[in-house]
Every structure is written in C-alpha cells, then in structure tokens.
Symmetry: C2
Subunit: 260 residues, 2 copies
Amino acid sequence: MTEYDSAPAEVGHEAELPEDHPRYQDLLTRHRIEEGVKKGLTHLQGMHAEGRGSAFDYLLGEETIESADEAARAAAATLLLAERPVISVNGNVAALVPEETVELANAVDAAIEVNLFNRTPERIDAIEAHLREHGAQSVKGQTADAQIPGLEHARATVDADGIYAADVVVVPLEDGDRAEALDRMGKTEIVVDLNPLSRSPQVADVPIVDNIIRAVPNVTAHARELAGRDEETLEAIVAEFDREAALDAAEARIRNGELS
Amino acid sequence: MTEYDSAPAEVGHEAELPEDHPRYQDLLTRHRIEEGVKKGLTHLQGMHAEGRGSAFDYLLGEETIESADEAARAAAATLLLAERPVISVNGNVAALVPEETVELANAVDAAIEVNLFNRTPERIDAIEAHLREHGAQSVKGQTADAQIPGLEHARATVDADGIYAADVVVVPLEDGDRAEALDRMGKTEIVVDLNPLSRSPQVADVPIVDNIIRAVPNVTAHARELAGRDEETLEAIVAEFDREAALDAAEARIRNGELS
C-alpha cells in the first residue's frame, strides 16, 4: 500500500474535503479517525484497524451492497423488537459516527454504552464528552459494575444495566474475542465489519458488511421506515434474513468485484 | 475490520511478541509502525496506510508469492547494474525496516535518501538519526537542492546528487503522484507495495507486491547471491522479468487465495 495514496495534503476540517472526489468517503473516514486519535478518543491502533477496513471497503467497491442493505434492514427490525437494546461505542465508532450513533439510538430507543478494548478513564471521559457534544442525552459505560464472563478483567467490564443486561447489542468494529464472549452470553449481536471472514461478523446474528459511515445511517433509515409496523411484520423481516448468504455475498464481491 | 483483531494487549518491545503466533509478521509490522508514530518518524496517516497494507497482505496469505520473489531477484539485478542507485526512505520505511534498508544499501552500493510526503525538518532529522542508529553511514535528503518536475514544491524536494541524479530508485510504499513523476523523469523504479492495482506498482519497472518486511531482506539476499555475476547474466535476469505477469499473479492471489 502506498503511504498516502489519495490523501489530501492537509485538511483542517472535514468540510474542506472535496465532496466530488471519487474517494470522498475514504478521505472522510481517514480524516475523522485521525482527528479521533488527536482528540484522544481513538487508540493509535484504531488508525491501523481503520486502514485495514479501508482496503476491504476498496475491494467491496466502497458502496453498500444489496446483502448489506438487507442486513441493515434486519438489524433495524431486530432493534425495534428488542426489549433492552444497547449500542456499544469504542474509539473508532466515536470518531467516525458520533452523531449517526445518537440518531440510531433515538430511532430505536437504544442505550449507548462506551466500551473500550484499551480501557482508560481518560478515553472513556473523552468519548462520553464527544458523544454528548453530538447530542447524546445519556451515555453508559462509567458505572462498570459487571463483567462479561470469559474475558480478562479490563476487557470484560461493562455496565450491569447496560450491555450486561441487554438482549440485543450493536457492536460495530468489535474485537473477535469480545464478540464471541457476548455470543456465549446469548446476546443477539448486530456487527458492522468490513471483513466478512473476521470472527465478529462470523458470530453475529446480523452481520452488516459495510463501512460504518454508510451502515449506521442506513440502519436508522430502515428503522424510521419500519417504525410502527406490527411485531409480526418485523419478526418476518428478521426470520427472512439469511446471515450465511449475506456473508457469502460480501466475500464474493471482495473476490470478484471490479477494482478501479 | 474489527478494532483490534489479533492485537496483543500491550507490548513494550518487539522481542515480547510471540514468534510462534500465526500472525507474527502482522503483529510485528503493527508494533513497529506504532513505535514509529510514537518516535516521530511516521506520520499518523502512515499508521492508516500500514493498516491498508495489512489487509492486502492478509489476502495474499502473508507470504512472499513466487512472482514477488522473481520481482525481488529482478530488483537485485537492476540495482547491481545501476550507476547511481538510491533507496528512498519515508516514515513507514524507516519504522518498519531501518536495519534491512541499510543492509540492502550496503549490498548494492546504493545511497539512502529520506524523502517525505509530509515533510517537516523534525521528521527528517528523526528519520536520519533512526537510520544512523541502525548502521547507516550516510543519509541524504537534508540538502534538498533539487525539484522533481510536476509536483508541488514540498513533495518535489530532493537532493540534486541523490534521487534527482539517480538512474535507479527504490521507492517502497511510495505515493502514486510521486511514483508517476519519477517515471516521467525516466527513472527506473523499483516499488514495494501490497496493492498491485495502486498507481505506484502500476508505473514501476519492477513492482514487488509483498510486505516490505519480507521484500527488502529478500532483495538483499538475491543481491548477495548475484554479486559478482557478469553484466550479461544480470541483464538477462532483468529482461526475463515480466512486470505485467507479476502484477497479474498478485491480483489473482488476492482474488483466489485461501483465506483463514
């Protein structure tokens, strides 16, 4: 990979990015994650992880493929049916889609919980403040009074009335170990990840193989459209969703899509 | 992509990384680039670029494929035949393969020149010092008295007796614009890049689609083996190398390789 392929020289604010640039979303993603590191929201390794994601997005064609849209619709129906849905936010999610996450939480009446792989009080505070700046009324993750079984202490820590008690969790860009541990707890997991072969989407009930910048607003749009439908309709949407087919379709696109 | 898939918790020194880990090279690469950012060698965007590279390496199978080994051999022959070869070093190259770059320079009698996309005096000084710590006797890039035509000033700046006057340049992980500009100057370019479709390998005379951590020592090993051969033999190795076939083979592996 080239060091700075398609990177703009220096951009102070994302409004300066050229919206008509053929790789606008990639530039926007990179800019937001870089700002996240500078603001102390995002761990340095999150920049590396985002780079990995950007390569998969490039191979996917940097668009929401049909199976990812179906997954987003199933995710919306799953969230609308949930009793105690929680959206888990880490440093990359906070940097990339703070406002979009708040909008999704509002659309499906979900809690937001900060949950970090490299957990420090400073980073949790910074992320909570960042989410509040982007409209969050309430942010969980500071109480830290429960543990996900089967993980080492720091990585297991969650809020007892948050992720621990949730029936449905949205875990975008989640570490594989934690996604597996949540799966063992019986949670219904909605994962956003650009590599269909990594463990998190593999264990998800609803894997959305898409860039989080596109996926989160898309789930929100589906949720708004589905709001008010009866449970039977929503359950049918969930039942019709085929997670294996969605993962296969994403892999096929990565294998066979046209690259530019 | 997951935020920290396969990342070790916290590693103070690369000797702590488990060499028997199935993704050892990926962990090592990530650790070195993270240290490079912390030491001021590597721009934050270099961490993102390395993440992109790591996704392509994963798709390649994290090994030197046969066509990449042939490219490394052709690169070695090209360097041994060169009159004024120069190895261009940016922040990622310095972080990832400082000692290996010095060894290659010694093996083929090439100059080393620091050449940065995001050029600052502090970063050039830090990279020069880092290369000297790893055995470099002489490092170009500080004189900065010539310009590559067709690029904006900061990105065009090189040493008149270095890259500007070189007949063969090794540009690992090079930006596409600069690779194209060097190509227009008539330089013979050896590029190391993990995405066979990005512009730098596309314009290279010898594109090596491989992880730089494997590729640079591999070129050195070929150079040592080829040292002392007559010009005719070296010229035949260069002539037999088929750059299009090498790029096609790398793309085919990315498309069709087994993923784990």
